[in-house]
Amino acid sequence: MERDDIIEYSLGAQHSEEEGAKIRKNIWKVTALLSIITLVEVIVGATLSKTVIGDGTTWSLIKYGYIILTLVKAGYIVLSFMHLGHERKSFKLTVLVPYIFFILYLIFIVVNEALAVTEMNFPLN
């Protein structure tokens, strides 16, 4: 039975040839960005590794740099490739807020506990 009281949301995503060309251009732009970030990470990882530069301030800067670059990459994949940036604001919040909240809590609690365990296991360090 054909129903006309249900909105076919899937049809709303369809677009014309001209819009498609614009979207494809954006896809290639994001691709270039992701590839460049990965390339930078690999070159830094292969040349300025912890074995070469030691466990000092430079290494901590590189470490946090990696994490920031990873979050940038993840943001582009989620918002652009997975189209979350084009969904309604209520849906963006529904997906991101609970996830970010739980993960931040988990990171906090586990790192906190791990530091306590380390202090107990290696009291001299």
């Binding site: 049809l11 990882g45 997975m82 996830y99 380390t118």
Partner: protein, 243 residues
């Protein structure tokens, strides 16, 4: 993006029933909710990696472990190519994610020919990634330059490498190999199921199922899963191979 999502609808009408307040189909919303739960699983894995690193007194440096490339024998890290092979794997996964998003875009134009083209490319990319992972695992477990197997044949204990000192391997924590195989294995299994899902969708595209239906939303839903696999790899790459 055109259509329902960008249409301005007063909040009262949006939430008073008779429509999806997110202006999305049921299947797509449920795929997102599944991905959130899966992302929490991977998040827990990566956070437990952090736990192991914090509680171990010593942790191997990745360029001392991952320096092999196919067909080249390199016994010591200095003779090898640190991160070259895993960079290739990362690149393959990013490119297959791009071909997937191009397939979704072609689906939005009802362009069956291009959907097939890009879906085939995505499936090939997935198989290349899986093959690369098989090679990587085989190399580090039993290869001639193998650095950490799952157990030692004589003592039946985990054998693992903490790094190199004056050309001799130093022992590292057992958890290093365990969490590495656990997380990359779980991710590899996701890639495998993603490739299978993509093959089923590809067969349906070729058979004209979605053409008859009038839209290619199934390609989009499969695409969400495939991008998620890429997203997880971005984090695995950082936390296992870079840091």
């Amino acid at each position: 993006m055109a259509g329902e999502v960008s249409k301005a609808i007063p909040p009262k009408d949006l939430w008073e029933g008779g429509r999806s307040p997110f202006s999305m189909s049921y299947g797509k919303i449920m795929m997102w909710f599944f991905l959130i739960s899966d992302a929490l699983t991977f998040g827990a894995f990566l956070v437990s990696l952090g736990w192991f690193r914090y509680t171990a007194d010593y942790w191997p440096v990745s360029d001392q472990v991952f320096y092999h490339i196919p067909f080249v024998h390199s016994e010591l890290p200095e003779q090898g190519f640190p991160l070259a092979y895993v960079a290739f794997m990362t690149f393959i996964l990013i490119i297959s994610s791009v071909t997937m998003v191009l397939a979704v875009e072609a689906g939005h134009r009802n362009d069956k020919k291009n959907v097939i083209k890009w879906m085939v490319a995505t499936v090939i990319g997935g198989f290349v990634f899986l093959g690369s992972q098989v090679w990587e695992w085989a190399g580090i477990i039993v290869g001639p330059d193998g650095v950490f197997g799952t157990y030692d044949d004589t003592t039946m204990q985990s054998n693992f490498l903490g790094g190199w000192l004056n050309g001799a391997p130093i022992e590292g924590p057992k958890q290093y190999a365990q969490i590495f195989y656990c997380v990359t294995g779980f991710h590899g299994f996701h890639v495998f199921s993603g490739v299978m899902i993509n093959i089923v969708i590809l067969i349906n595209v070729i058979a004209g199922t979605y053409e008859k239906r009038g839209h290619y939303e199934m390609v989009e839903k499969g695409g969400l899963y495939w991008h998620f696999v890429d997203l997880v790899w971005v984090f695995v790459f950082t936390f296992f191979y870079l840091l």
